[in-house]
Symmetry: C2
Subunit: 312 residues, 2 copies
């Protein structure tokens, strides 16, 4: 029976094409170039939301049972700090622009090459997409957004680089625009990141799920240089979307990007809300299992209660 469940899991994963964090990986292959944008069947609210993902597909079982699920609160005791020298990160520029898709569950940029080399493993960049508000908590603190750069190895392992995005100050933005020399280190959390401003400048053109647009030319070095200059908080977690597969190598950057208030409103009005609730500490029981026990006990108490009190 163990084998059957496993087989079912793999079969279901391999045959479905769903829009999610795994989009563009072996778990959820993309449509061919020029093909239609596939829209996700899961969501973030109600019965298709993260509390019920396991019930949507047999393949999603681990969403409710896995003990190393993401996102988590990046508190001091759950991650290892990886120094910049131990990571090689490259992302190709996209001088002709990139395909930018609305998958219903996120907005995603299809990349044109890039790699992550860490601990002797090599991963190839597939895409990056956005969550709003942030999925990981930065030591208990919600961030405005989070960017996920999704990599896959030749052996189909998945690594994700997560980068928090804060709201840039309009005044700082104006100053940065006027200045020809930008001190990047100082502007990390206060000035808008040009890459994000460029991408989000066309996000209103993909307001409808299933649509796509070509971005203006994208220069990736600004973000890559920022991210690879700072340590990463690493841990072994999962996809934050169905099928919630585990064994994902998370690299949460300690560098932060910025988005201008105007661009934030634009992308927020398209994304809406796509943040999975914080999962339990890695290695602890899935919080949905704990919740189910507590809820079941409550349900039994309610069900057992007669409407009319028995005679004393």
């Amino acid at each position: 029976m163990h084998l059957s469940v496993q087989t079912l899991f793999l079969a279901a994963s391999a045959t479905r094409v769903l829009a999610s964090c795994a989009h563009g990986t072996f778990l959820q292959p993309r449509a061919e170039e020029g093909g239609e944008v596939k829209v996700g069947t899961f969501g973030y609210i109600g019965t298709i939301g993260p509390l019920n993902w396991a019930a949507l597909e047999t393949a999603n079982m681990v969403c409710a049972t896995g003990t190393r699920q993401s996102p988590i609160d990046m508190a001091g005791n759950v991650f290892t700090l990886l120094q910049p020298a131990d990571v090689q990160l490259t992302v190709n520029d996209m001088p002709d622009g990139a395909e930018f898709e609305n998958l219903g569950t996120t907005v995603e940029v299809i990349t044109q090459g890039g790699s992550l080399a860490v601990a002797g493993k090599q991963f190839e960049l597939q895409q990056f997409h956005f969550h709003l508000p942030s999925e990981h908590l930065d030591n208990g603190t919600s961030q405005a957004m989070e960017m996920h750069m999704v990599f896959q190895s030749a052996t189909q392992e998945i690594a994700v680089v997560g980068v928090y995005i804060g709201i840039a100050d309009g005044a700082a933005a104006a100053a940065a625009k006027r200045s020809t020399r930008i001190d990047r280190r100082q502007s990390v959390s206060t000035a808008p990141t040009t890459l994000l401003e460029t991408i989000f400048s066309v996000v209103d053109q993909i307001a409808v799920p299933g649509t796509k647009v070509k971005t203006p030319p994208l220069v990736m070095s600004e973000v890559v240089d920022l991210v690879k200059a700072q340590p990463f908080q690493i841990y072994s977690g999962s996809l934050t979307t169905p099928p919630c597969s585990e064994g994902v190598s998370w690299h949460v950057s300690t560098a932060k990007l910025g988005v201008s208030p105007a661009s934030f409103v634009k992308v927020r009005d398209v994304i809406g809300f796509n943040s999975r609730f914080p999962q339990n500490t890695p290695g602890q029981p899935n919080i949905l299992m704990i919740s189910a026990l507590g809820s079941a006990a409550a349900a039994v108490a309610v069900a057992a209660a007669p409407v009319i009190a028995p005679p004393a």
Copy 2:
């Protein structure tokens, strides 16, 4: 047994003093004036988080079983629109400042009088506090923050006025500061609200849960005039914190307040994250009950799976 559970529920509610949305109401009376700030025992992450509130206290059972729980997605079909003329809202200014407390689960301003009169009922203002990111979703869209003004009637009914807070643009903020004549309607979502800037100017002084500070003088008319000039989206829901009591009259404002990026960072660094996940559509089964069934099925499948496959 029905009566015993009810009695237990009421007894537990009446005898405990917890920091929450119900703080300052009959459910969770405040300490006397000048008393210590009581810090909440629930939280937003892991086993003390919203997926497990029902298991923390018998009194919290309805968090997992209630069918009219808050917050919800304020989509078109779940609320009634209440016109401004049908609501009387007043909030007293606080010329000597107000007590501003860190309850661990939120930061809260203790008010000094105010009332809400609606549908022939009269409610008295107890306090207002903040959630980050927003708890309600504005037609599927997450907002940066949400302010909850909590009112209680003489018969101990609770009404809450919820107001979304967006990130104000720094440029707009600077312009508003320079201008002596502010067009309130235009500035709703782009300029910072003076009341919020004033309150949050001292939020870093209550970074530690259990501490309090006196705010500068608070003029309430700016916010009250804005809010009472726009329709409310009303529905019958619950407290968004334990004990999740239902029968709460929600009035979600269609006016929005603004917070400057700098003040947002200040208050975010104190609050961290205190947003309960979106609940099911009012009248539908509690999403934790639905989740428990799905999770239980998944758990059974995992538990039933032998490690070694049986011979064919």
